[in-house]
Amino acid sequence: MTQILVRFLVGGAVVSAFAAVGDMLKPKSFAGLFGAAPSVALATLGLTLFAEGGSYTAIEGRSMIAGAAALFAYASVVSWIMMRYKLNALMITTCSIPLWFAVAFSAWYLCIK
């Protein structure tokens, strides 16, 4: 339970810090780079290094490649839909989450597993 709480606090702090940097940057397309900052990864991998060591962390890094490819597909599709259809951002970003799962698990199964 303590480990989960530490992960929650460290993750929340790192994600908020990267998001705040993104808020200060202009133009919007450059600030958007921080929407794909390695914030969750840094918090998680940092804590994993303490608990499990380098080899375990390397396995997580390998799978993260599939997750990053899925994030590329997700963000590209979200951007495209938002520019073309009159739907609000919350609906588009939330309804597109299954796309991230589909690409991440397919890429992992086909290329990494």
């Binding site: 989960i4 992960r7 993750g11 929340g12 702090a13 994600v15 908020s16 998001a19 808020d23 200060m24 202009k26 919007k28 397309s29 450059f30 600030a31 958007g32 780079l33 921080f34 929407g35 794909a36 390695p38 969750v40 990864a41 840094l42 918090a43 998680t44 991998l45 940092g46 994993t48 290094l49 380098g54 080899s55 375990y56 962390t57 390397a58 396995i59 997580e60 890094g61 390998r62 799978s63 993260m64 599939a66 997750g67 990053a68 994030l71 590329f72 997700y74 963000a75 590209s76 979200v78 951007s79 938002m82 520019m83 009159k86 609000n88 951002a89 919350l90 588009i92 970003t93 991230w100």
Partner: protein, 139 residues
Amino acid sequence: MRVRIDATALGQIKWHDYAARFLFGGLVTAVAGIIANKFGPAIGGLFLAFPAIFPASATLIEKHEKEKKEKEGFEGATRGKEAASIDASGAAMGSIGLLAFALVVWRFVANNNPWLVLAAATLAWLTVSVLVWEIRKET
């Protein structure tokens, strides 16, 4: 297009927006840890690139741009959506950098100083992301 830093933008964000980011970021980090414990690091690693605060950030950008335009007396909904779309295209470019981050961690973390590897991976993310952004800007 030159990159600028505007620290006053932080003052325009409400406390509940900061709280939402903290909550989603914390939750995804905690859940990624739980998944790694239950299903192993191969599955847990996927969630290190989960779009944790993406919906909250896109909604915030859409709302701010819409309000800004409406204060000036214009219709703001379209501008709000455009701004959120541009931000999302930036995130797509950043995710190519995230791929570089993951590659550096995977290849080097087991046999080198892990803290230096994490720092190098973060630098790789920033360098690749900015390069992709610069190339895209030119085309």
